[in-house]
């Protein structure tokens, strides 16, 4: 298997090899059981994710049913009681800690520092001038030099307005510069179907939270579904709002 790596396994399975390379790979697989096993594992991984990643409402309902039956047919034992006491203690401590944290926040704690961490990630696809612009913008963005980031993203979007990532990072950069002009960029991304849509909604909510406009912040947080990657942060921010 040493001659082939995971990229090759994926390309073979996805039918992305040219016929000659594919034949060589098949021959190598016939001679190397570990390579054949790796291909089988990839196929199994793919089908498992296809089956189990989509939300399964029936499974969720069954879990709830099983939890109910469990409470009827299994008793809580002493060990659990001890754990529960321990957890109760932790919960009480957490409440005190939370109170301290919230008090601090009301004294002007910076929500941005807590929830505003965003790293600009780009993947050079074609090595074009457009990619260079994005990479330069990412460099400044990740150094929090938004004044230098913005002109690069303006230039990028002027040439290619289809890249939702560019709109997202430009919106965030504007807001970090204290300029509400970033809001329309983020609203556009939030209303689209890109992978950034819920992050955009979160960034808008964060902006309004910082501006002491909790009602608007909550309105944007409500747009983030529970299964979104950003949902945890959204829920934490929601709890910080009065």
């Amino acid at each position: 298997m040493a001659a082939y790596n995971n990229d090759d396994i994926i390309r073979y399975t996805e039918g992305e090899m040219l016929p000659e390379e594919r034949s060589r790979f098949a021959a190598a697989m016939a001679a190397d059981p570990s390579l054949a096993a790796a291909v089988e594992e990839y196929k199994l991984l793919k089908i498992t994710l296809e089956q189990r990643l989509p939300p399964d409402a029936a499974a969720d309902a069954l879990r709830r049913q099983l939890t109910q039956q469990r409470a009827i047919h299994f008793k809580k034992n002493n060990r659990l009681s001890a754990v529960r006491k321990y957890l109760t203690g932790i919960a009480a401590a957490a409440v005190v800690l939370l109170a301290i944290v919230l008090t601090r926040q009301h004294r002007g704690k910076d929500l941005l520092a807590l929830y505003g961490q965003v790293e600009m990630q780009v993947s050079a696809e074609r090595g074009s001038n457009q990619d260079s612009l994005l990479q330069a913008a990412a460099l400044y963005f990740n150094e929090h030099d938004y004044t230098k980031t913005l002109p690069l993203l303006h230039q990028y979007i002027a040439a290619d307005s289809s890249n939702q990532a560019a709109w997202f990072y430009r919106g965030v950069a504007s807001l970090r510069n204290g300029d509400a002009a970033g809001l329309p960029d983020l609203e556009k991304v939030s209303n689209g179907g890109s992978v950034f849509r819920y992050d955009a909604a979160f960034q808008i909510a964060l902006w309004y939270a910082i501006q002491q406009q909790p009602a608007k912040a909550k309105e944007w947080l409500q747009k983030i579904p529970a299964d979104a990657a950003i949902a945890g942060k959204a829920s934490a921010l929601r709890k910080e709002l009065p």
Binding site: L49, Q51, R52, F74, N77, V195
Partner: protein
């Protein structure tokens, strides 16, 4: 030969009337789920508590085993050709033995003696359920280690939707999407391989 479960070609096998339990799990039939608990919770509680487990351990194993059966019935078209009881109890017991192994303890009773009263086919089928569900759990756990963007891209790309449509919806090119998907899958494979070492 005593046959039990056939996942490969269920149409050739006689489905056991206890298949109703699997159907009950699939459609979340309260009465059938309750019946499973009433009939078998006590047996599993006794077995696990005799083998260094607690009542909570028994409840966890019982619940996880039922979810395993749900997943197998839903995704692997598992059909029952033997009675439910020996098959289900064996799954629970094997899961508990695996759990003890993870906790680096030795079981008190002799597992071979304890499990020898079932047919070979039941044994093999139960082992297959456990092996496949453990494998799926590893895949999903390693998937959870990927970055947010990779998880989202794979979710979308493996949803069955046309890749061109997904790329357009994401505001990226088709080539970029394919490249990122392959990169994310390669990373995931490397996590899975590293986890085995």
């Amino acid at each position: 030969m005593y046959t039990t479960i056939d996942q490969a070609n269920p149409s050739l096998m006689t489905i056991h009337p206890d298949q109703r339990y699997l159907e009950g799990l699939l459609c979340n039939d309260t009465r059938l789920v309750q019946e499973i608990y009433e009939r078998y919770a006590g047996k599993i509680r006794y077995y696990i508590m005799q083998n260094r487990g607690s009542e909570d351990d028994a409840a966890d194993i019982f619940q996880e085993s039922l979810m395993d059966l749900y997943n197998q019935a839903k995704h692997k078209q598992l059909r029952l050709t033997c009675p439910f009881e020996p098959f289900f109890l064996l799954i629970c017991k094997r899961k508990w033995l695996n759990e003890l192994k993870k906790r680096e303890r030795q079981p008190v009773t002799k597992p071979a003696d304890d499990l020898s009263d079932v047919g070979e086919d039941v044994f093999a089928a139960a082992e297959a359920v456990i092996r496949e569900e453990e494998q799926a759990a590893v895949f999903l756990a390693q998937f959870g280690r990927l970055g947010e963007k990779c998880r989202e891209i794979l979710r979308q790309c493996l949803s069955g939707e046309a890749q061109e449509k997904i790329a357009a919806a994401m505001g990226v090119t088709y080539g970029y999407l394919r490249k990122k998907k392959s990169e994310c899958m390669a990373t995931l494979l490397s996590y899975i391989q590293a986890q085995k070492k």
